[in-house]
């Protein structure tokens, strides 16, 4: 006796669901979990750089070997990346879509609050706060300098190389 249609339809739906889920799971995608990262020709920090990827980029894993994995970018570039610079879940980062939308809906005019955010010095909002709270000129200057303080990415890389940190592990 052939089972009724009410039996087959949920079963087929379940198969399709499992297939879609399985395809996702087998894809083995990782995401760049570092501000920037380099793809290298081999699995050591001494191998030539063959490409650069940035925070949040999706990478397809080709194979894993110790602390390194060979990956493929969406553009088709292939290379080795230090595994600790990747994550299996997509990172949301610092300023996600919801946050931007919320700021927009609150009527946030970026120029009002971020006269110099990311550049030099206090912005208008914190400057107004400092005035109202009576913060001294000396303390303002400290935070002003702190805000402007920058270290180039290559200096951080060099620091890690000297210490044998991250992909520069000996």
């Amino acid at each position: 006796m052939i089972p009724p249609r009410s039996f087959w339809i949920p079963l087929i739906a379940l198969w399709i669901g499992l297939f879609v889920w399985g395809t996702e799971a087998w894809a083995d995608t990782v995401y760049v979990q570092a501000k920037t990262a380099q793809l290298r020709a081999g699995k050591t920090s001494l191998d030539a750089v063959v490409g650069n990827v940035k925070f949040g980029d999706a990478l397809e894993v080709v194979r894993r070997d110790g602390s390194w994995m060979e990956v493929k970018t969406s553009a088709g570039a292939r290379g080795w990346i230090f595994a600790n610079k990747t994550s299996t879940s997509k990172p949301s980062g610092g300023n996600d879509t919801l946050a931007r939308l919320g700021q927009s809906m609150r009527g946030g005019d970026a120029s009002a609050t971020t006269a110099s955010a990311g550049a030099r010095g206090l912005d208008k909002a914190s400057e107004a706060y400092a005035n109202r709270a009576g913060v001294s000129a000396r303390d303002r200057e400290v935070v002003d300098r702190m805000t402007a303080y920058q270290i180039p990415d290559q200096d951080v890389e060099e620091f890690m190389r000297e210490g044998g940190l991250g992909e520069y592990a000996k």
Binding site: Q33, A34, N95, L98, G118, A128, Y129, S136, D139, V142
Partner: protein
């Protein structure tokens, strides 16, 4: 009839606002204003703020909050250590850890507070402080990385921002305050003063501190630092000050923290024979 049309348009606009369409909200405001109904325009604007205040705080707003809190931290702790090489070193360790954090896409800066107490703080948008007193207790770079990892985790997990958003809702402050920081400085000051009180006087919730310990431990270990280093530092501090909350009065007791960190090391298979870099640390911090 004309008024009815405006009300209908406004109703649609408000629905779109709730659905997340800020452009429509602004268009509806303009229609109401041009139709000679400023009260309605105000109501639409207010509705946008109410809905907007339920969304997370964006980085630009976060930056304003972080700067204002940093001003109070520096003022309360009497300034910072002015030793460029030392400051650069501490920042390099911080950047190495932050670069593999869950939020590497924002700037992080570390300052050393010129104060003998043993403590560390993080303000939103990547403003991090460690006291000279704490730096003196640290024995190697791996311990420093773990301390900075803890503070970076407070930033990446947006712990202070959570406190601010929660207090805003509880207080019924719907006008977000933060985007209006320049037009409504009194509201902004209220938000900041509340956050500073929580950070420096009352302390964050203990679960946030435990979260920062375990998340920060993972950040430091990802860079290659020895995962056990933090356990060593926490144990020494417990021996020094006793197992209560008097040292980091804002934190859970040391035994609970040590246990949570050890559980993380075990559960996440973190490397316990990683780098400690004692010599580099000693060389760079000899004038502390």
């Amino acid at each position: 009839m004309r008024n009815r049309k405006i009300w209908m348009a406004s109703l649609v606009a408000l629905s779109m606002t709730v659905a997340g369409c800020a452009e429509v909200q602004r268009a509806a405001e303009d229609v109401a204003r041009q139709s000679g109904n400023p009260r309605l325009a105000g109501a639409i604007h207010g509705a946008g703020n109410v809905v907007g205040s339920l969304f997370p705080i964006g980085y630009e707003e976060e930056s304003s909050i972080g700067q204002a809190i940093a001003l109070q931290v520096v003022a309360r702790y009497g300034g910072v250590v002015d030793q460029p090489e030392l400051v650069r070193y501490v920042n390099l360790v911080g950047r190495a850890v932050a670069n593999t954090s869950d939020r590497p896409d924002i700037p992080y800066r570390v300052a050393i507070l010129d104060h003998e107490s043993i403590n560390a703080f993080a303000a939103p948008a990547g403003y991090i402080f460690v006291t000279r007193g704490l730096l003196k207790q640290i024995k190697n770079e791996a311990e420093l990385a773990a301390v900075l990892g803890h503070e970076i985790a407070h930033v990446s997990e947006k712990h202070i921002l959570d406190v601010i958003q929660r207090s805003k809702r509880l207080a019924g402050v719907t006008e977000a305050g933060l985007s209006y920081a320049t037009s409504n400085p009194a509201a902004f000051k209220g938000v900041i003063d509340g956050a500073v009180k929580k950070l420096l006087d009352e302390g964050l919730d203990q679960d946030k501190e435990t979260d920062a310990d375990t998340v920060g431990e993972v950040f430091a270990a990802r860079v290659g630092y020895d995962a056990e280093a933090y356990v060593g530092l926490l144990t020494r501090l417990r021996d020094l000050k006793g197992d209560d909350r008097a040292l980091f009065k804002t934190h859970p007791n040391f035994s609970a923290r040590i246990e949570a960190v050890q559980k993380t090391i075990h559960a996440k298979h973190l490397v316990s024979n990683g780098l400690v870099l004692q010599e580099r640390f000693a060389r760079m911090t000899k004038r502390v």
